[in-house]
Symmetry: C2
Subunit: 214 residues, 2 copies
DNA sequence: ATAATATAAGTGAGTGCTCACTCACTTGTT
DNA sequence: AACAAGTGAGTGAGCACTCACTTATATTAT
């Protein structure tokens, strides 16, 4: 049974910065409100109240409301894909290629856990990508540079070995991502229900193996 | 090559109401702006300017900005699922069950075309479901009552015949929906690129057949 | 057929409120 | 004493919405 440790993770991220205690309070309050109500429906007086600071404090470090949003999302955007790529390199592909099932299991479980760990930020990110084309471009670039490459290498390996269907990488990634997201959306939209990431991983991989394996 | 006929469809919907010309202008302008900028980032002066009416006119019929949003989304929420169910009954299941592939092809193509036809409203709906729990509940209820039943019947038929895997209906629906949505998201997020719905349908069905068929 | 009257639709200046943000000042830290 | 962090009243802008008035349309009387 996976435990929702988004608070712990965000707290860890905050601890790594040299912000004052009150500035960290501002970020925590902002994330909560942006996640619950949306960026636009959250006012800076709201943030000040929840953080227990003055309105001027809200602007001291981040200059604008938009700056607060960037401070919250930048770590997610910059870390989600590099982290995936790095973990891939060290944990999954560094030694000889594992079986396809092991590869998919590792990938899927890793991403489900990431969704569990970052669900508030992902909820904020989700609403932002609808109208923030700069952010969409940023995510797309990071994805192509840091994630597509390693997975392309892995899938090419299995394809060249005749283990999986001879489809374009983009197409296969689309199916993997959309199946993971269909479980991930439940985590993001209904945080009151804990999702068994191990059981979910098993179901996802079972379906993907059937869909992709020769 | 599918043509984006959302304007034609929305125009048809408007023609079916007894609203005045200026009121219809208000709705058209509202949909465009809500879709492009989001509900919160759209102001009622914005709507008045684009519709070419006075600010008071914006409120004449719909009373509040929120009322305009409801007027736009209600037809989508009330029609998307009933339409799916009705079309299923008359076009797909009325005669004897077709082959699994024909069934999936019909379903997938129908839903992709619906996404194409309603992409602006779906874009608005997407942002609303993030924070409007009433709307989410409404969609969920409509889905369970009008869509789940017919698809459950169909999938039970194929399962009982030993044609597909012995998985729960909810699980299989999740995979169908998420795969369709992975193509549909491209339609919604990047309307400047037309999506070949027939080719997409073929790819989707190929993957789903592999994933579900025994 | 035309004029008068009633009703509906539309108008846009104005309202009260809240917003994002500022900055002179106070408090806390080094 | 100097500097940094925090404060909160105040600012200008723009919001959603109102409403007294104007214009357009429909109905009725002549």
């Amino acid at each position: 049974m996976a435990i929702n440790n988004v608070e712990a993770l965000f707290a860890e991220t905050l601890n790594e910065t040299d912000l004052t205690g009150k500035q960290k309070d501002v970020l925590r309050a902002s994330l909560s409100l942006f996640s619950e109500k949306g960026f636009s429906q959250t006012s800076t007086p709201d943030i000040a109240r929840l953080a227990g600071v003055s309105e001027g404090t809200v602007y001291k470090q981040f200059k604008t409301k938009e700056g607060i949003l960037r401070a919250i999302l930048a770590p997610v955007v910059q870390n989600v894909f590099p982290k995936a790529a790095d973990e891939f390199a060290t944990d999954v592909l560094e030694v000889s290629y594992p079986s396809l099932e092991t590869f998919l299991t590792s990938l899927v479980e890793n991403r489900l856990n990431f969704i569990v760990d970052n669900q508030k930020q992902l909820r904020v990110l989700l609403q932002e990508v609808l109208f923030n084309e700069g952010l969409v471009q940023q995510i797309r670039t990071a994805f192509m540079e840091r994630v597509y490459g390693p997975i392309d290498s892995a899938l090419s390996h299995y394809r060249d070995n005749g283990e999986i269907v001879n489809w374009q990488t983009g197409r296969m990634i689309r199916y993997v991502v959309s199946t993971v997201v269909s479980y991930g959306i439940q985590i993001i939209m209904m945080p009151e229900f804990t999702v068994d990431t191990k059981a979910s991983t098993k179901e996802i991989v079972e379906f993907l193996m059937r869909g992709l394996k020769v």
